[in-house]
Symmetry: C2
Subunit: 229 residues, 2 copies
């Protein structure tokens, strides 16, 4: 958590968020009004936050990672924009460390060169578009970070994506999986593209697949920038 996020939470009267994230900061928010909701209730929770802020309350919506990356930032701004101009509360986005960057630091330095971030969740995005993006990222030799790589409802998504990337990239390309990046119980695995889909990967995992120059050295994934050493 950055100092800015910490200060904002200290400042507010009301904390709104997915209850799993609220429980991660329960000591920090003790004594404050808390509006916790379950998964897939993003719209309700952000709407309530915007209503409370429009009433003049000091409200913080908490996300894990960076609220600006697959988080609540966009939804909050969209809902603020739906209010008549004179009722709109001020909204500030406080950036955070997104899972790609936290996971990269655990694995070594895989994101040292151009990279693409793709979520494999097809709840809000057509699966065909997700596959197209994976293909373009593979063809462009981007390092690729995958969010929401697998869940019960999407058991074979990661397998399909690996098949697509394998059409452009060596099966020995280093790949890493970080579970619970930046949280208690974090763990990681370093493998290669050919064996990635067979690993234990879940919705709380972030996957990073190297580019054509990425290598594993001394147990760490490194994508060289190209310095001559």
């Amino acid at each position: 958590m950055t100092p800015r996020a910490y200060e904002a939470i200290k400042w507010c009267d009301i904390v709104v968020g997915y209850h799993t994230y609220m429980s991660l900061i329960k000591d920090l928010i003790a004594g404050k009004e808390q509006v916790g909701t379950g998964m897939k209730q993003e719209i309700d929770r952000c709407r309530r936050a915007v209503e409370l802020a429009a009433e003049g309350k000091r409200v913080v919506v908490v996300s894990s990672g960076d609220p600006g990356v697959y988080g609540m930032a966009g939804l909050v701004l969209e809902l603020v924009g739906k209010l008549p101009a004179e009722q709109r509360p001020e909204a500030e986005i406080i950036p955070g460390l997104t899972a790609a960057n936290t996971a990269a630091s655990i694995l070594g330095a895989p994101l040292m060169h151009d990279y693409a971030v793709i979520s494999l969740s097809d709840l809000l995005t057509p699966w065909e578009l997700i596959k197209k993006r994976a293909r373009m990222a593979a063809e462009g030799d981007f390092v690729i970070a995958l969010y929401n790589p697998r869940s019960r409802g999407r058991a074979t998504h990661l397998d399909e994506i690996c098949e697509i990337i394998l059409q452009y990239r060596d099966p020995a390309t280093p790949a890493g999986i970080v579970r619970k990046a930046g949280r208690a119980g974090m763990s990681y695995t370093i493998t290669d593209l050919a064996n990635l889909a067979a690993q234990d990967v879940d919705m709380q995992s972030t996957v990073i697949i190297g580019n054509s120059r990425t290598r594993v050295e001394d147990g760490r994934i490194i994508t060289p920038r190209g310095y001559e050493l």
Copy 2:
């Protein structure tokens, strides 16, 4: 700066870095041994840091943004790996907020969906590969964040990249420029893809170009995730 980065700097005996970055934290590092070097001396500076750490010193290499994104993390790990196993110092990568995420928070919520990060610096990367990546990112409808978008030696790179992206994306696609993201003197401009290259953009700028669904609302760039509101 995250608390982890702060603690590491407090802990160390020696701070190594590009002198511009050192001057940003001069109060924090007062009294510590400082090894500052100029631009384009990345290898010298990281080699010195690794040597000092191998001697048992507590060394921190400072970067702006995230050291794992076009920063010093990879070079440090490469240089550690070149030492005989018994001489290798322990190296930890402390992730930070990279410019794409900081800039996004200033512009609104442009990175809410799949995105690609591309540096337009061709010092270490062939210009043809950079253009290919821009083309793939545009064809895949990724939100695109551009680092090092323009410098004296690369006056027309951004123009060429905009031409490529315009082959796939509407000229009215929202685009934002953030100068000195997260630092004193930060400023930003919101424009569109057609007018992006004509703006005042320099090496200290980060550029973000929306995807086909990105819009500007109430002075902020928003890429909707697809919630039905």
